[in-house]
């Protein structure tokens, strides 16, 4: 389910977004959405690395991502990340 979020951003970030809008010829929404998704992917990778190192449990990873246990299992399966 998609959610709309309105956020103020720092001027430097705003300029960066504008550069991406112009060079990639995308809308502001698409650029910000892509940045957020990259950030989310990065968070998954970071947490998965922590899990793989035995620093956190799967339940901690799930909580940090805002997922329940089943959803996390599904996410890991979708990304071919083994337990």
């Amino acid at each position: 389910m998609a959610v709309e979020i309105a956020i103020p951003v720092d001027e430097k970030v705003s300029k960066y977004i504008q550069v991406l809008v112009e060079t990639e010829r995308k809308s502001h929404s698409d650029v910000v959405r892509a940045l957020l998704e990259e950030g989310y992917k990065g968070e998954i990778e970071k947490l998965y690395t922590s899990y793989s190192r035995g620093e956190i449990t799967l339940r901690r990873m799930a909580r940090r991502l805002g997922l329940n246990y089943r959803e996390l299992y599904q996410l890991l399966a979708n990304k071919n990340l083994p337990l």
Binding site: Y51, G54, R70, A77
Partner: protein, 147 residues
């Protein structure tokens, strides 16, 4: 040998059954039926004695993980606790709580003839994608008693 299964009430049951039913997972419905038929027991884990609780707190794991540790400590008559989580497996092992992986449960059930070898093989293949390469290959040979 008869097989009985126990789920920790708050963590595992909530994750596997309650949330699964809400999301419409068919296996959650099957688990629910098995619980209603008392083929699976749901147990509540109470906090234990201070030294144990102090160490568990130091491990800094999630409430669902803590519930499993407490349940294993209180239950004296179980054989194994099935867990796929790396850190939790290690903690359970350190407490001598006899953790096993799901593939190991499948192998044990096949050896005890609770399921056929063929079914065991099918189950292992079905969960292959969950595990790093090597685990299922090894498990298949264990199933056939080659290793």
């Amino acid at each position: 040998m008869s097989w009985t299964f126990t789920l920790a009430k708050k963590g595992v049951k909530a994750e596997a059954v309650d949330l699964g039913l809400q999301a419409g997972y068919s296996d959650a419905l099957e688990l629910y039926r098995l619980i209603k038929a008392e083929a699976i027991t749901v147990a509540k884990a109470q906090p234990a004695v201070p030294p144990f609780e102090t160490v568990v707190a130091a491990y800094d794991v999630e409430p669902g993980d803590v519930e499993i540790l407490r349940l294993c400590r209180l239950a004296s008559d179980y054989d194994h606790v099935v867990v796929d989580d790396r850190l939790l497996y290690l903690i359970l092992h350190r407490f001598a709580m006899r953790p096993i992986f799901l593939p190991d449960l499948i192998i044990a059930m096949a050896r005890e003839m609770a399921i056929t070898e063929e079914t065991g093989e099918q189950l292992l293949e079905a969960i292959r994608s969950r595990y790093r390469t090597g685990f299922i290959e090894h498990s298949l040979l264990m199933l056939k008693e080659v290793l």
